[in-house]
């Protein structure tokens, strides 16, 4: 049931020592080696690293993306999921994990299967918002639980901020940007770039992301005559007066417009030379967003930027009904889009420098409400990219028995890994120090490890 592991140097040495006896998985050891090599290379050259947050809005049913296929766990899965359970012909097998467990992904996700079997993708088994390590007894006694469990906006806010109780939340992507933006020197492009509009994840205390659409950046007609154009002058003068004398809402609105205008021209010029590789990109919204991310990454040197956090969204996961069809279509789109994206990253030569990861509002009930599922808690997430120690399932895969030790009711699983541990593992790879991790993830010290080991 347990596949928890934290790949450390010591693990590697033990593993290497045991290899002769065949007691250790070769792949993981190689992954660790590759990671060391990558680190050595990057220390020598100006490095670049990007994180791409793929937010699955509505609450993805992760336990119908990753399915255990060993007999015992599969029987439990089948019993708990009722009419939503996948039969084996609706599943694509994954290579066994290093510790010998067997899993499969939904048959709609061949792209995820490939990335996993190529060692470029890892799953996290049961991640969720947690104040501290939490047991079923804690849940029943209602102690130290995140507020407003099972509510969309509250749970996605908590997952994006890791500030469970704070009234005024900022995002952990934003805090990362606050602390690491100095690595980007004088770059005019903010560390955060959102292709999917406003989001809490990227909002920091002192940094805000740049927002662009999947289609790119457009000029402002009003100022297109150039700075010396009388209209531009009048427009800028009015905006300037608002910035100094306006009331709060007017001032903040003017600030946003001014910054949009200032950056748009820079971006347009830079993106004219961008590339998203030679592969074919699907037409779905999530693929278009990821293609835009690829284009921005391809011109990173124009901005002299070293660290970037991107945000894209795939909506529609609140599958209270018609789940098999709707969820299957979404996962299929996502799987294709992620395959295209990571293919392009390899082609652009940044395969090891770019890591994508999923977040979602919450997991969904294992039980069916007829033809769909309701809001739950712990969930499966996944990370992909060349620096991921892939082909493995991290964290503790939960006991899916209804009313079992991990079930808070109707198959709402109590998370065994905190989103903060998940985020911290990514943030450490991104360049955050131990001290910075404690700032970015306020509850991190309450958990047994800050590094889940899935990043080389």
């Amino acid at each position: 049931m347990t596949a928890s592991k934290h790949w450390s140097r010591r693990d590697f040495l033990q593993c290497a020592a045991a290899t002769a006896a065949g007691a250790c998985n070769r792949k993981s050891a190689l992954g660790f080696l590759a990671g060391m090599q990558a680190a050595a290379t990057e220390a020598a050259t100006p490095d670049y690293r990007a994180l791409v947050c793929i937010f699955l809005a509505g609450g993805n049913d992760g336990f119908n993306v990753l399915v255990p296929t060993d007999t015992g766990p599969y029987q439990t899965y089948k019993a708990s999921r009722g009419n939503l359970a996948f039969a084996s012909d609706n599943l694509l097998n994954l290579n066994p994990t290093p510790s010998g467990q067997n899993y499969a992904v939904s048959s709609r996700a061949p792209g995820l299967q490939n990335l996993y079997n190529n060692g470029q993708l890892a799953f996290l088994a049961n991640v969720g918002t947690l104040v501290q390590p939490t047991t079923k007894t804690d849940y029943q006694a209602n102690v130290h639980l995140p507020p407003q469990l099972f509510s969309h906006n509250d749970q996605s806010d908590q997952g994006m901020s890791c500030e469970l109780d704070a009234l005024e939340k900022i995002g952990w992507g934003g805090r990362m940007a606050d602390l690491l933006t100095n690595l980007n020197g004088t770059s005019r492009l903010p560390l955060g770039v959102s292709i999917a509009g406003n989001n809490l994840f990227q909002v920091g205390n002192s940094t805000v992301p740049y927002y662009m659409s999947p289609g790119g950046v457009n000029n402002f007609y009003v100022t297109s005559g150039g700075l010396q154009d009388p209209r531009t002058k009048a427009f800028n003068k009015m905006l300037g007066l608002t910035l100094t004398n306006g009331r709060l809402l007017e001032r903040e609105f003017a600030k946003s417009v001014k910054s949009s205008i200032d950056l748009s021209q820079t971006l347009i010029t830079a993106l004219a030379n961008s590339s998203s590789g030679t592969g074919i990109w699907p037409g779905s919204s999530i693929a278009q967003q990821l293609q835009m991310v690829a284009r921005v990454i391809s011109v990173r040197q124009t901005f002299g930027i070293k660290r970037q956090v991107f945000y894209v969204v795939q909506g529609g996961y609140d599958t209270h009904d018609d789940q098999i069809q709707r969820h299957g279509n979404l996962i299929s789109e996502l799987s294709q889009a992620m395959a295209a994206f990571h293919g392009a990253m390899d082609e652009l030569g940044v395969g090891n420098d770019v890591t994508s990861f999923t977040l979602s509002d919450f997991g969904r009930t294992l039980t069916s409400n007829g033809d769909g599922t309701d809001h739950a808690w712990g969930n499966v997430q996944w990370v992909a990219g060349g620096s991921v120690v892939g082909g493995d399932v991290y964290g503790t895969f939960p006991d899916q028995t209804l009313d079992g030790p991990d079930d808070s009711g109707y198959g709402r699983l109590i998370p065994t890994t905190s989103i903060e541990q998940y985020g911290a593992t990514l943030a450490r790879w991104f360049g955050a120090s131990d001290t910075q991790l404690e700032t970015i993830f306020p509850h991190l010290s309450r958990f047994d490890t800050a590094n889940l080991g899935f990043m080389a």
Binding site: A57, G82, N83, Q148, L149, F150, S151, H152, D154, L167, E168, G197, N198, V203, G204, V208, Y210, Y211, M212, S213, V217, N218, N219, F220, Y221, V222, P230, R231, A234, F235, K237, M238, L241, T242, N245, G246, R247, L248, L249, E250, R251, E252, F253, A254, S256, V257, S260, L263, S264, G315, D318, H320, D321, T367, N369, G370, G372, D374, G409, Y410
Partner: protein
């Protein structure tokens, strides 16, 4: 037999109230919703005697920007002859213009483009402006969306009309009609929600049960009458638990289309859902504060207990009051303002709870609404993109050559379309605050959730095109273009001061600061009055765009 009756009733009159009366004999209904006015008929605007001005013009403009889809000269003149309460009462007496009736007169009532056109035509031209404006506000609270939901277009219009017809009714009726509408039923999956079935391994769907509490009535935490969260030992107090959600979900089982013969049958989006007792959970259910729904209750009787319980919860007044204030008046109402509105929700003065007429008056006539920044320095809100366009077309009589307003794809051109929010959380949340000073000072600015670099560019450019390329007299337009009439502006353009003064009045109610006006006047003066294709056109268009794109206009105060 029953089903046939329903069908006939619906086909004839579409009167949901009558239908509910048949289906739910146990539920006492208040007034029937307003009758539908034929929106294709020539609008008849009430005439007023030639009496001296009662309401000053800037006051009228400010007020109409809150109570309608944007001030326009005709309405300003009309309102100036009466007091604000008189204007509201006049609006209360008007017939409702309904969207489905108008949609049915288009070539295809199931084409989304036609629904958009009908919405804009109502927003821009319907005489029952207050009703339409409140309905739009309600559509951003009781959110149903055609994004990803598969709800047919004509069903969206049926839903919108529930809000139009009940905007001046009782909140309890709105709640019930929304709950039983098949559009909401599909959107939040109460339609075909069935009791637990061990053999199938299924249980009741919690979607509507949760959102009706969290978003439509009581919210997450206990509130004081002024909308401030109550605290116990420093912590907020939840209004409901997960168990309450589960039990409410059971209560809400057993509803299907109003014309269905069996539970999974049916397809009539025009009438309310009807119960199938075989699919209703008849066990004993305990909800909020130990309200017991006894076992063996019928679906309708159980629903009545649940909705009555929610409706009578002390949170509803401040919760819904704050949302209506935010939609119509200001993003950060003072607790006192919320309390005054909540008090009217609790009792309209005649012992009636939930009287929307009393609530709307309380929202629009509150001293804080009328005094603006003089009463509350943080008064104001960002105009929604849709409301900027409707204002443009109202103030300058924008329409296509045949009188329609074919603005088919507002979602892609301005990022917002009626009944097309990305989720039940609307385009923006009541508690959204953009990072920076607004958030740091603990204020909210919901509409800022639509403000970002990509949207700023899109919106500024769309507005630029709608003004600079779409005016009557421009030789380069086609008959479907929505053209504004700038005759008024062209005449005034001879004097830049007059032109700016007029725009300042009709758009902002004289809220442009003096230094901003000076910049504008100087710029307008620098443009030649004699211009192609007619005198004054360039001055008019430049000035109009610069006012409407300025933060002093876009922040409405």
């Amino acid at each position: 037999m029953k089903s046939l009756t329903c069908h006939q009733v619906a086909a004839k009159t579409l009167r949901l109230g009558t239908l509910l009366g048949i289906l739910l004999p146990g539920i006492a209904l208040a007034d029937l919703p307003a009758d539908c006015y034929d929106p294709m008929a020539t609008p008849v605007y009430p005439s007023t005697a030639e009496i001296p001005s009662v309401t000053p013009q800037p006051t009228a403009v400010r007020f109409l920007n809150m109570a309608t889809f944007g001030a326009m000269p005709r309405d300003v003149n009309h309102l100036s002859k009466m007091t604000l309460p008189e204007w509201i009462n006049e609006q209360y007496r008007m017939d409702a213009s309904c969207h489905l009736a108008a949609l049915n007169q288009t070539q295809n009532n199931n084409q989304r483009e036609n629904r958009m056109e009908i919405w804009f035509r109502h927003a821009v031209t319907a005489p029952d402006q207050l009703r339409q404006r409140v309905a739009f506000a309600l559509s951003e609270i009781f959110v149903v969306s055609d994004v990803g939901s598969g709800i047919p277009t004509n069903a969206m219009a049926v839903y919108y009309d529930i809000l139009v017809r009940n905007a001046f009714g009782n909140f309890r009726d709105i709640l019930e009609r929304v709950t039983l509408s098949p559009a909401m039923g599909r959107y939040l999956s109460m339609l075909h929600n069935q009791k637990a079935n061990r053999k199938l391994g299924i249980r009741a769907d919690e979607n509507y049960a949760r959102e009706v509490m969290q978003l439509f009535t009581i919210g997450l935490v206990q509130l004081s009458p002024s909308g401030v969260p109550l605290l116990q030992g420093g912590n907020t107090i939840p209004t409901y638990s997960q168990t309450d959600v589960e039990n409410s979900a059971k209560t809400l089982t057993g509803w299907s289309f109003g014309n269905s013969w069996s539970f999974f049958d049916g397809d009539d989006w025009r009438i309310g859902m009807k119960p199938f007792e075989g699919y209703h959970d008849r066990t004993l259910k305990t909800i909020l504060d130990n309200i017991v729904i006894p076992e063996k209750g019928l679906a309708a009787a159980d629903l009545k207990i649940l909705l009555d319980t929610l409706f009578n919860h002390p949170n509803v007044g401040p919760f819904i009051g704050r949302r209506l204030i935010q939609r119509l008046v200001t993003s950060n109402p003072s607790p006192d303002y919320i309390r005054r509105v909540a008090r009217k929700f609790d009792d309209n003065g005649k012992g009636v709870r939930g009287d929307m007429k009393a609530v709307i008056k309380a929202v629009l006539l509150d001293p804080e609404a009328l005094e603006g920044t003089r009463a509350n320095v943080n008064f104001g809100k960002l105009r929604e993109p849709l409301l900027v366009l409707t204002h443009l077309w109202r103030a300058f009589d924008g329409h296509s050559a045949d009188g329609t307003i074919r603005y088919y794809y507002p979602d892609s051109s301005i990022g917002q379309a009626p009944l097309s929010a990305p989720s039940v959380f609307n385009f923006f949340r009541p508690d959204f605050a953009p990072s920076g000073t607004i958030k740091n000072r603990g204020f909210f600015a919901p509409e800022f959730q639509l403000v970002n670099d990509a949207n700023n560019t899109r919106f500024y450019n769309e507005l630029f095109g709608l003004i600079n390329w779409r005016y009557k007299g421009n030789p380069y337009t086609n008959p479907f273009d929505i053209l504004i009439n700038i005759n008024n502006l062209k005449t005034r353009a001879r004097s830049p001061t007059d032109l700016v003064a007029y725009l300042n009045l009709i758009l902002t109610g004289n809220k442009l600061p003096a230094d901003v006006k000076t910049v504008l006047i100087n710029y307008v003066r620098s443009i030649a009055y004699i211009s192609y294709p007619e005198k004054g056109v360039n001055r008019a268009l430049e000035a109009l765009y610069l006012v409407m794109s300025s933060p002093h206009y876009l922040i409405q105060r």
